[in-house]
Every structure is written in C-alpha cells, then in structure tokens.
C-alpha cells in the first residue's frame, strides 16, 4: 500500500520555499488551532491553510484521497462529540436520539443514558476544522518538500546533529523495515501460524527486533569506516536558502496570524 501523503515533485512557488518556512508555518498553525475558540475564526484558519495547498497544485488522485480522509475526520469528530458533548454551563443540549435510553436496565443506570445531541454534533463539526487546519499545514510540508530537504531545514533550525542523524537514519530505514515486516508476515501466513492480525504482530516482533539489532551493529561499523565521530568540525553538503518567496510568505503569515489572534482576543 502506498502512503496517502508523500512528496509530489513539482515546481510551484510553494515547492520552492525554504523548508524552514513550511516547518514554522506548521508550528504557527498548530498554535493558532489550539488557541482559537471561535467557530468562524477556526473556519477562517482552515481556509487560510488551504491556500498554499491549492497553490502547490496537488494532483487530482492525491486530492481525492485527502478529501476522503478529511470526510472521515469530520464524521469521526461529529459523531464522537454528538455523543459525548457535555456543556459545563447553560441549558442542556437538544437530544436528537438516544443510543442507550436512561431507563435501559443496568446499562441505563450505569451510564445515565447516552444521547446524540444537536449542539454536540455541531461542536464536533467545528472541532474538525481545528484538526484539518493542522493537517493542511502538515500536508503542505510533506507533499511539497522531499524528506532530505525537511531534514536540512530542521538542521538549520539548530536541532542537534546527533538527533538529526538518528531521525534521518530512522526515516531512511522505514521502507526497509516495512519490507522486512511484510516478508516476516508472509512467512507466518504460509505456515498457517498467524491466523489473526494480533498474533501476526506478536510473532513478527522477535525477528524484526533481532534483525534490527544486527543491522545496527553493522551500521555502526560502516559509519565508523566513513569517519563518523571524527574530531573535525562537521560540514554539510545540502543547504537551504531563504529567498524572496519566503519573505513574501512570512509577511502574509505574520499579518494573518496577528489578525486572527487579535480577533480571537476581541471575542
């Protein structure tokens, strides 16, 4: 199975942005999505985060997957909040239907009744925009920036080299480990050993971990053979550059963020 969100090559202005701009955009959107409480402002934030995604000209098949995923989140938040929303103050919400009526023997008394409310569903629907705004910014970063550039961006944001090396190696080995898991799972299936997914995972863990440990010791030798940990001050091959597009983006991000915070505080 292919991942839903992966880098899509392109030459749009968003693709050309410094990865640091896109990483910080994700950070700012996350903070705003947590701070903002007004439904209209959450909606505004959602549409704002759609702008770079639209500019980056996401291919239609990816767009369809994103829409499907978003619909799933909307349905999830709407249903869950519809059932579990309990306002602390004010009148009780309007019940649309009861899943467990309060007079149900045993369960009714135990739960006090479980209802689906109109206000809960609306609240959940709005909350969906909170999650989707963050997702928009994440998708913009992931789909318009190759992983190596994201890493270079994080490095330039002064993350420690050891941490970055671990992160890069982890990302580098994700496809290898997925492939290895598939082989192990197939070996289990053909012996008729693992008949349910839980067993499959349980039995796969031991060979997967042992092989990873073996791989790590070989990686350590290979790294040492290439002067890893040398006393020389490390230099970097890849570089990231802050350009005009980044300056324009930062101006837009600054203005819209200040505006949203101000409106939010104004109530």
């Amino acid at each position: 199975m292919r991942p839903i969100f992966q880098f899509v090559d392109g030459d749009t202005s968003v693709h050309r942005l410094d990865p640091r701009t896109k990483i910080l955009w994700l950070g700012i959107v996350t903070i705003l999505a947590i701070l903002i409480q007004r439904p209209d402002l959450l909606l505004a934030l959602f549409f704002l985060t759609l702008v770079p995604l639209v500019i980056s000209r996401v291919p239609m098949h990816q767009l369809r997957l994103i829409l499907f995923f978003y619909t799933f989140i909307f349905i999830g938040t709407t249903i869950s909040q519809g059932f579990f929303y309990q306002p602390l103050t004010g009148p009780p919400p309007d019940v649309l239907f009861w899943l467990i009526p309060p007079d149900t023997p045993l369960l009714g008394a135990f739960t006090g009744g479980v209802s689906f409310t109109l206000q809960g569903a609306l609240y959940g629907f709005i909350q969906g925009f909170r999650i989707l705004s963050m997702l928009n910014a994440s998708v913009t970063l992931v789909m318009t920036t190759p992983v190596n550039r994201i890493m270079a961006g994080l490095r330039e944001l002064r993350l420690p080299f050891t941490f970055m090396f671990m992160l890069t190696t982890a990302v580098r080995f994700v496809p290898t480990i997925i492939e290895e898991y598939r082989t192990i799972a197939n070996a289990l299936k053909v012996r008729g050993v693992a008949k349910n997914p839980l067993r499959l995972v349980q039995y796969s863990m031991s060979p997967l971990i042992l092989n990873s440990v073996r791989r790590c010791s070989q990686l350590a030798l290979a790294a040492e053979s290439r002067a890893f940990g040398s006393l020389a001050e490390r230099t970097y091959y890849t570089s990231v550059k802050f350009g005009t597009g980044d300056r324009v983006s930062w101006t837009c991000i600054g203005i819209s963020s200040v505006l949203l915070v101000w409106l939010s505080l104004a109530g």
Binding site: N148, T168, R172, P175, A187, L188, G192, S225
Partner: protein
C-alpha cells in the same frame, strides 16, 4: 601499501583466535582476492585493514598491521579511512542518507571538508561508479547493484588508496554482480587503486585479479595466480547424485498448473503478464531471471500469498483463489531466502511444533513429527536450543524442518543459497535433492545459473513478467539469453564435481 606481520586476533570472549600468524604484503595497484569457507577469518582480516580491529571491536591482537608504513594501532579510524575504504556485503546497512549524492557526501561531511571540495569529490565518485544518472534519486528506489555502487562511491569520496570489499556481490542478482565487479575492475585498472576483495564468486573475479589467497581456520594456507592451473579448491562447480534426465522419468501427474496468470500491484505495476506453466509431480524446477522479472511474484502465487488478477493457479486439485495461504501450508511449503525472517520461537522444538499445533495435530503426534523433522535436517540434538544461538546454516536447516514437518507435496525455495559459501551450498543442495528424491515437487528460485543448470530438471527463465524460456536442461536445441546460460559450461576453469570431493 599494506603489510601484515605475524597478525593474530582473538575476539573478546572467544577461546580460539580468528586469525593466526598472518603474514601478507599487498603492493600498490594490486588486486588480491581472499577466498575460503565461512568462518575462516576473511571478514576479520578485512576489519583489521581499516582499523575497526583493534579500535572498535575488542579482543587480543598480536603482530602488526601497517598501512603506508604506519601501524594501525597508532592511527584513529577516521585517519585510516583516508587510506583504506571498506565496503560491506549488504548495501542497505551502509547507506545513511536519503539520496545518492547526500550519502556519497556523508564521509567528506564527517571529515569537515568545505562544500566546494565536497562537491568535487561527489562528482568524481559518481563518475567513477557510473552513478551520475541516479545522483538525486532516493536510495530506496535503487536496485541492489545501484545501492552497492552508491556504497562504493561513498567510500571513494573518502579518497582512499586501498579499497577493501567484504563479499560486495553476495546479495546481488547476475546483472548487479557484473555492474559491481565491472566498477571494481575499473577502479583497479584505470584508477590504479589497490583492491582486496572477499568473494565467493571466484570464477567471475578470477579474470580481474593478480592473486588469490585461500584461507582456512584463520590462516592463509595457499596462494594462487590466475595463470596457474586452478587448484581444485577454488574451482566452483556442482554435481548432483543422479542425472536430471534419469530423474525426470519419475515425473507423473501434474502438481502445479498455472494458466494465463496476470498480476499487478496496487500502484498499477504489472508484474506477471499471462504466464502459463505446468510442473509435474516430483520435478525439480528452477526459475531464473533478473530482479523484477516476476519470478518471486510467481512463486508467491503457488501458496496463495498472492492471488492472480487474471487466470488460475491450481496445485493438485486446489485452486489458490479459493484458499487462504495458511490452508495451503500442508500442500505447499515455502522457504524464504533469509532464515531470520522465518524463525519466531524461543526454542528449536517450539519453532517446528508451532505450525503443527495450528494444523491441529495432537500433542503426542506433534512430538513425534517434530523429532522426525529435526532428525531429517541433522538438528536432532538441538531441540532445546534457542534458534538464535545456531549458525546461519543451522538456522536455514531449521527453517527447512518447519516446512518438512507439515509434509507438503510441493516445496518452493526462494534463493536458498544466497550468501553461502561453496561447502554450505552443497549441504543445502543435498537436502533439496533428498527432499526431491522422496517424491516431492521442488520449485527453486535462484540467481545462480550454475546451480540451476546443475541441479534442476527443467529451467524456466522469466523476463518482464513473462516466461521467455521453458525447457529441460538436457534440451540444447533451445537458445537461452547469454546472461542466463550456465557459466561453467562456457568457461574452461570449472571443474565439476571436484569441490564435492574436497568437501567430503
């Protein structure tokens, strides 16, 4: 360039030294092959050359290793990495960055080179390994041969005068192997780099080298030059107990019927395109082809792991469309290439018993079958051992026992001999022959053309998802593409059967 004086090394905790009294001198520009059975000390010797021993792997080292006149004890590994570069067997375990050029730059980055100097080295290494077209590619999209060439380029970027290779082609298909060996040949002949290589594929490396050193039990026991009459020890060839033609007479009913099978993965890649194939009961069929030719995909159709998008796969009278892979286990056994992908339990006994338990066998019967299966693979006294304490060859035999215990009528072996030395290959092939003689149908996927042509009754060659050749080995009237021909029959250096005698 490199001098080893009375070198002896014992790993920490080991009783016996892995290297014993090694004396060796490698001149500048020389191409030296290290050969010998698994565990004879070849890899340990490689690790001594770039200082991993004694700096990183601890143990007792006696004697000296001199690189350009300097003792490796007095130099750090980063310092030595400028003189001696070491390329390991598995390319996946020595690539750190996400793209080809970034990985090549990994070493120069560690040395703290300025960016223009780094760029110069990356460009040169890409050119030397003919990897320019893949410069910006993500490494997980490369073939095995391209990955190994990336690893070589990464070492070249350190600009060492000596290149040491520890079985660089063990995990590669024929094309990958020739790509890598051609790269090594060029680096030696055109660039004048000194090469020390551990390689089991003696025949392919023979035309490139100046001399071959044969190691056994931690010692260099003999030295040969390509011009010398080739000693029996180094002539890799195979022989089987009985001729394929005789055994083919045993083939009776149809065991496997593959009818017009097409298959494509979710991303739309069409891997099989209308494959038709029948395999008789008791036949030993070899499927050969390059990586991506569809041979493993076809094999995974035999036990229902993959279902055809079009067409049918029928094993005896069971259509794989109607059965789950687990239900096929008693009919088709499948041995994966790496035993470490198919061993899950904490004891040898449980490893074999687990499949029988799921097949619903009673405890009493299970006990009997487990012991029979372990005995059949010479692991009778190992029932209580932890499988992870066994050698690779023993683990491979344990994997065979787990399949044999289920008593399948067809067994599929996916690359059963990859990365094994000649003696172990012969051991494994003896097991496969025994299994076949018991009347079981065997399908073997292999990259080793010599092996396929020596052991199989029939050869199927796959390319681009189609069967492009399907004929008994005895049928010489059908032409086979050059790359899939039996190398030993087209070269004079092979001495079929001689190795068998040596092993015995």
């Amino acid at each position: 360039m490199i001098t080893l004086e009375n070198l002896e090394f014992t790993y920490f905790g080991a009783e016996e030294p892995s290297l014993k009294n090694i004396n060796l001198s490698v001149k500048e520009g020389e191409f030296v092959v290290l050969a010998g059975p698994s565990g004879c000390g070849k890899s340990t010797l490689c690790l001594c050359l770039n200082g991993i021993i004694p700096h990183l792997l601890k143990g007792r080292m006696e004697g000296r290793v001199l690189v350009n006149g300097r003792d490796t004890r007095d130099l750090t590994i980063p310092e030595l990495s400028r003189d001696v570069g070491l390329v390991f067997q598995n390319p996946d375990n020595q690539i750190f960055a996400l793209t080809v050029d970034e990985d090549i730059a990994f070493g120069p980055e560690n040395l703290g080179l300025p960016r223009p100097a780094m760029e110069e080295r990356v460009v040169k290494a890409l050119s030397e390994t003919r990897m320019e077209p893949f410069r910006k590619k993500f490494v997980y999209n490369l073939s095995g041969g391209q990955k190994q060439r990336t690893a070589i380029a990464g070492i070249l970027a350190m600009n060492p005068g000596v290149l040491v290779f520890d079985e660089p082609t063990a995990d590669l298909d024929p094309r990958g192997t020739s790509e890598v060996l051609e790269t090594i040949r060029r680096l030696n002949r055109d660039e004048g780099r000194t090469v020390v290589i551990v390689e089991h594929k003696i025949r392919q490396v023979l035309p490139l080298c100046d001399r071959i050193l044969w190691m056994e039990g931690g010692r260099i026991v003999s030295e040969h030059e390509p011009g010398d009459p080739l000693p029996p020890l180094l002539a890799r060839g195979y022989t089987r107990g009985d001729g394929p033609a005789d055994r083919r007479a045993a083939a009776g009913q149809t065991a496997i019927r593959i009818q017009d099978v097409s298959f494509s993965y979710q991303d739309g890649t069409e891997v099989l395109k209308g494959v038709d194939l029948t395999v008789g009961e008791g036949e030993l069929l070899a499927i050969i082809g390059e990586n991506g030719s569809g041979k493993s995909t076809l094999a995974m159709h035999l036990n229902g792991l993959l279902k055809p998008k079009r067409g049918n796969v029928v094993i005896w009278d069971k259509n794989t469309r109607d059965t789950k892979p687990g239900q096929m286990a008693s009919l088709v056994g499948y041995l994966f290439q790496n035993p470490d992908h198919q061993i899950f339990s904490e004891s040898v006994y449980n490893e074999v018993a687990i499949g029988l338990k799921h097949a619903g066998l009673s405890t009493k019967n299970r006990d009997r079958v487990v012991h029979e299966a372990l005995k059949a693979v010479d692991l009778g006294g190992y029932a209580d051992r932890d499988p992870n304490t066994l050698s690779r060859g023993e683990r491979q035999r344990l994997a065979v026992a787990t399949v044999l215990a289920l008593n399948p009528r067809v067994i599929v072996f996916d690359e059963p001999t990859t990365g094994q030395d000649a003696a172990h290959i012969l051991d494994i092939m003896r097991y496969i022959e025994d299994i076949n003689r018991q009347g079981r149908t065997v399908v073997m996927i292999t990259h080793d053309m010599d092996l396929a042509w020596s052991y199989a009754d029939r050869i199927v060659v796959m390319a681009g998802g189609r069967v492009i050749h399907d004929a008994p080995v005895s049928d010489t009237s059908v032409s086979v593409p050059e790359i899939f021909r039996c190398p030993s029959k087209s070269q004079s250096i092979s001495v079929n059967g001689v190795l068998e005698e040596v092993v015995q």
